[in-house]
Amino acid sequence: MKFLGFIIVCLTGALLLYGTGEFPDWGDPGSPASMHLSNDYIEKVVEQTQVPNLVTAVLADYRGFDTMFETAVVFCAGLACFLLLRDFREKKERFYRHVPTGVILHVKDSKKILKTGKEFEHMDKDWVPSDLIIKTVCRILIPFIQIYALYVVAHGDFSPGGGFQGGVIFGSSLILLAISYDLKTLVRRIKEKVLGIYAAVGVLIYVGIAAICMPMGGNFLDYSKLAPLVPGDPHHIRALGMLGVEIGVGIAVTAVMVIIYINIVSEGRHDEGL
């Protein structure tokens, strides 16, 4: 297998290098890729859409149809992780810690969760005492990370950013919460059901905005036809449409990142993990 693999890899590499032979030099402004479509985009986008960030404009408008399916791919990944791993069976083993003394109780074969007062707390099997510094720093950081994420989504039209980036940042802030505290804290704050609904609603916002354009008399995704529905300058309607879909993307990506993380670290049990 190793030898066969080596031969296949060499053949592929040789083929690719052979194809590279007639490439224009790297960074050549006169290459076909930089001449044919790219100039059209660079020169016309601002005039047509009022959005200076060309990447966002092409992503959410000219090739918005791609991006819609890309969001569907994300949704699909979250759903697949949930379907593959989620295990609704309750675990029988439980651990409780007596906070003042640090004594650990190991309860086997109990179906129901015992109520913990102030003295006891649930704990994970591989428990390490949580670090006060890490907890405090993360607690301070998380709100700022989230605000930054919202900024990245909202300002995606003008500066580097957009729904995917903002969604990932927001999702990582929630994952940070799970890492610095424990998984239970995160799951307690955001229910699994809420995450599942958010993932679907995010994509639904995208598809919904795109689909409303059809009864308004345009083609699918043609934001310019939404002008009568939205107050404000009709010139900016395409920028607003892009912002709308980016928000949908952000919601879906956030939810899916958390779903994938929770399911993989806890092997689908949603009780303990990293």
Binding site: Y18, E22, G64, A72, G196, A211, N219, F220
Partner: protein
């Protein structure tokens, strides 16, 4: 404004999301939502097909931007036909699936329907699109959904089969993506029609040759052309029946469609058959695929696995037909997309009915099945005849075109492989019939004549009706082959 082309693809997506929402709120709603979504999509596909037949290719601009800046759907006769096949098979399979999903994955039925609809969305999008990169994104949707589904079926072996499928699938899709990148490098465009306009000036370029090879290898991996078929038998036989019934007939056929689209619309006959000299090699490869698929099918002990190897064999037919390089061969290949989708669907419907009652379909388990499930077996026999190629079933006509095409091109080895594989299929199916019919149910004593009359235990009515309808459609498609060829395929090939 005529929005049917967009509706074909968007309604299943919308229905998938609503079904996903319903799975969290009220799971029983998922199924009717899925059904309505696919029904609307089927209606739109029918409208589009009629419109294309009467007034020619439809161009639909997404977001209203003109290509090549925006993404365009350009639906001609070939697209419209494949779209109609995909969406109708998806719809009828959904009707038949209600009971088997209930039996196999009842606790996650809502999520199952969501994934199912996303898969159908992916297939429809791959078929409808006129943009090379959009095609890649949609291929990835179909792949991701099938990875999940394969792992869900067989609890023990499913995940491993699925992970191997992931590796091979990623290599295939990435090769295609690289090929598109090489094309983009030299043409600067991603729209199929635009690329096709620019390409003739670049025929000698090594970059374009590399792009062509990469795209083809990527698509071949995805369609499981021998010897790149290793992932297919495990992946398809371990997935849940409700999903196997749709992935087996459609996934490979849609990939064959993509290959034909790339050959005809993007690279063009001139480039493939005149500038390059690889058509003969590919026809030999297809010949090998046909023979290898048939022989490997003969060695299987499980009915599902056997059928998956028959798919490998049938892919050889279509690839060979497309690469022979004359109109007859191409006609045969396109007609075989329709016929093979129907035949494979009918076969897997029958297998689904058996699995519903028997749980496993190792050949030994099938003893006495004619007495137990007469209606299912009637459909199975009819389909088997069609696969073998007995007139007037549809399987005969596409093989006829393929053989005529092979003779015209002088590819006698391919014609011989077709005949031999048909014979092997005949042997294969009669072996199955023998087990199902002649061997009595074992009662532990060996006195066959003393066994009481076998009680009929059929699958649920919804599955039987769909199975019967599809089996009958094989004959109908056979009788109307001439009409299909004259109204859809020949006008399409003339336009190119």
């Amino acid at each position: 404004m005529d929005n049917y082309p967009a509706l074909i693809v968007v309604t299943p997506l919308l229905a998938a999301l609503l079904a996903g929402l319903a799975a969290w709120i009220e799971e029983r709603l998922s199924y009717p939502i899925a059904l309505i979504g696919l029904a609307i999509s089927m209606f739109s596909a029918f409208k589009v097909l009629m419109q294309v037949i009467s007034s020619g290719t439809i161009h639909y601009r997404m977001a209203g931007w003109a290509p090549p800046m925006g993404i365009e759907y350009s639906i001609d006769l070939l697209n419209a036909m494949v779209l109609m096949i995909v969406v109708s098979i998806a719809f009828f399979n959904l009707i038949a699936s209600y009971k088997s999903v209930d039996q196999e994955i009842n606790d996650r039925a809502g999520s199952f329907y969501t994934i199912y609809l996303l898969f159908v969305t992916g297939l429809l999008g791959v078929t409808a699109t006129g943009d090379l990169f959009n095609l890649y994104v949609l291929i990835e949707i179909t792949s991701l959904t099938s990875y999940a589904m394969v792992a869900l079926g067989d609890k023990d072996r499913g995940p491993l089969a699925s992970l191997n499928y992931v590796f091979i699938g990623v290599i295939g899709a990435s090769f295609y993506l690289l090929g598109v990148g090489y094309l983009y490098m030299q043409t600067g465009s991603l729209n199929m029609a635009d690329v096709a306009n620019i390409l003739p000036g670049l025929h000698g370029s090594s970059t374009i040759l590399t792009a062509f090879i990469l795209c083809m290898i990527g698509i071949w991996i995805k369609m499981a052309l021998f010897p790149m078929h290793v992932w297919l038998p495990n992946a398809y036989s371990y997935s849940p029946v409700a999903f196997a019934r749709i992935v087996a007939p459609l996934m490979t056929k849609v990939m064959v469609y993509v290959m034909i689209r790339l050959m005809i619309t993007v690279f063009g006959y001139d480039y493939i058959f005149e500038t390059l000299n690889i058509a003969d090699a590919v026809v030999w490869l297809a010949t090998l695929a046909v023979l290898a698929g048939a022989v490997m099918a003969l060695a299987q002990k499980n009915l599902k696995k056997m059928l998956t190897y028959i798919i490998v064999c049938e892919i050889g037919y279509m690839v060979g037909g497309a690469w022979i390089g004359n109109q007859l061969g191409m006609t045969g290949a396109i007609l075989h997309i329709l016929n093979d989708a129907l035949m494979t669907f009918a076969l897997f419907l029958a297998v689904g009915n058996m699995v519903y009652k028997l749980k496993t379909v190792d050949l030994i388990d099938l003893k006495g099945l004619f007495g137990k499930m007469p209606w299912t077996m009637a459909g199975f026999v009819l389909t088997a005849f069609s696969i073998i190629g007995v007139p007037p079933t549809c399987g005969f006509f596409s093989k006829w075109y393929l053989i005529l095409g092979a003779f015209e091109a002088g590819a006698y080895h391919f014609a011989a492989a077709l005949v031999i594989s048909s014979l092997i299929c005949a042997v294969l199916f009669f072996k199955v019939f023998e087990i199902c019919f002649f061997e009595p149910m074992s009662d532990g004593h060996g006195h066959a004549d003393l066994t009481p009359p076998v009680k009929i235990e059929e699958a649920p009515l919804s599955m039987l009706i769909v199975s019967g309808l599809v089996s009958l459609s094989l004959i109908v498609a056979g009788l109307y082959s001439g009409t299909i060829v004259n109204t859809v395929i020949l006008p399409f090939l003339k336009l190119q």
